[in-house]
């Protein structure tokens, strides 16, 4: 008989491009102001990848950092999952490109698409494989180069997004530790609220799609705002109830960093004090699938997460999708 194990995070890493775009830079691009962006979103600056840099470039850097933190070598990885909506190309998968570049010769590799919930989806899949014993060591990466899919003349969206990558290495740990609970959700009826319409098989690239800017992110901000606040509150409460715990037992909530106003509104509803909610959106903006693993890596590195901490990862985004992982560190 196998001893019951959990999937635990044994190493984290992140990588952010050097180039900073602040709100004053944006004032030169669109009709906006630092004051408006700060008060409506909490974002002060975001990172932008150079023109010749793609998702796999950022992913490799985050992956190498996570591997080093885990003490494993690339050859010990059994699986690589990359969560992204801004892959290098449709195929091969960005995960296969990363596998080659880090030399993870023994790993299976594939991408998943769940937008801003991508990392939580990836972690939850990885958790199942580790618990079943199918794969032992799994690298989960969230990476985005959203700057290449943003319409830099659309002030409704261009102020929000940024680029970056975060990664975590999972492995078996004793069942009292690691991921204690995960729950994912999807609601395709909200698919039109946040999307990139063209470039796929529905609206293939054409002069028409280019002329109409259909390769850029389109968003219905207010609907997404309401969805996000509600789902943050309900998913956190559900997860705590399922674990037989109270919201006040959480040591650190790491929500997807979409808008400070969403985070504050949900935290207020949950009665969570600010010191229990990780916020880095002022520095990076919304980096979709990379947002949670980047925040997680920061919180681990800065000692905010310690042995025994109860950490909740909470994602929400296009799809619509949402998901939560409850982790005992």
């Amino acid at each position: 008989m196998h001893e019951r194990v959990s999937a635990g995070i044994i190493g984290t890493g992140s990588y952010l491009p050097d180039q900073v775009l602040n709100n004053y830079d944006l004032e030169k691009l669109v009709e906006t102001s630092n004051q408006w962006i700060c008060s409506r979103t909490g974002i002060q600056e975001r990172r932008i990848a150079d023109e010749d840099v793609s998702a796999s470039d950022l992913a490799v850097r985050a992956a190498e950092a996570a591997l080093e933190a885990s003490g494993l070598s690339a050859g010990q990885l059994d699986l690589i999952i990359v969560a992204t909506i801004t892959p290098d190309m449709f195929f091969p998968s960005t995960a296969c490109i990363v596998q080659d570049r880090i030399g993870a010769k023994n790993a299976v590799a594939f991408d998943i698409s769940a937008a801003c919930t991508g990392f939580v989806y990836g972690l939850t899949m990885a958790e199942q494989f580790v618990k079943l014993g199918t794969y032992r060591h799994i690298l989960v990466i969230g990476v985005e180069v959203l700057s290449k899919f943003v319409d830099w003349s659309d002030r409704n969206t261009c102020i929000l997004f940024g680029d970056g990558a975060g990664a975590a290495v999972l492995g078996p740990v004793t069942s009292q530790k690691g991921i204690q609970f995960s729950r994912l959700g999807s609601d395709g009826s909200g698919g039109d609220l946040l999307k990139i319409p063209a470039g796929g098989s529905k609206i293939p690239s054409s002069q028409y799609s280019l002329d109409n800017g259909l390769h850029f992110i389109k968003m219905s901000g207010k609907d997404i705002f309401k969805f996000a606040v509600k789902v943050m509150e309900h998913s956190t409460c559900d997860a705590m109830e399922a674990c037989g715990l109270k919201v006040s037992d959480i040591d650190l909530l790491i929500p997807h960093q979409a808008n400070l106003r969403i985070i504050n509104s949900a935290a207020k509803r949950l009665k969570l004090p600010p010191e229990k909610v990780w916020v880095n959106i002022h520095r990076y903006g919304n980096i979709s699938a990379a947002s949670i693993p980047v925040a997680l890596d920061e919180a681990v590195t800065l000692g905010k997460i310690r042995e025994g901490s109860l950490v909740v990862l909470l994602g929400f985004g296009a799809g619509l999708t949402w998901g939560v992982n409850v982790i005992r560190w």
Binding site: S39, R40, K222, F225, K226, V229, K230, R261, S265
Partner: protein, 75 residues
């Protein structure tokens, strides 16, 4: 139910203003409420009164009195 009293309580809570500032003729923009404060307030009212307020409806709401009128007709 005294809708005005309830709405006043919610506005005070959501916008952090004094009760005396909230009168029927008060405009939300004079309470320093920005567009997302209004979204949050609408969400709180939808939950409290168990109804859905459409975006078009929200656009029309300028004063506290507009909200009371809408709720009285729809609750």
């Amino acid at each position: 139910m005294d809708i005005f009293a309830k709405v006043k309580e919610m506005i005070v809570e959501q916008l952090g203003v004094e009760e005396e500032e909230v009168k029927k003729e008060t405009a939300f923009k004079d309470l320093n409420a920005d567009s997302l404060d209004i979204v949050e307030l609408v969400m709180a009212m939808e939950e409290e009164f168990d109804l859905e307020i459409s975006d078009e409806q929200v656009e029309k709401i300028k004063t506290v009195g507009d909200v009371i009128q809408y709720l009285e007709a729809n609750v």
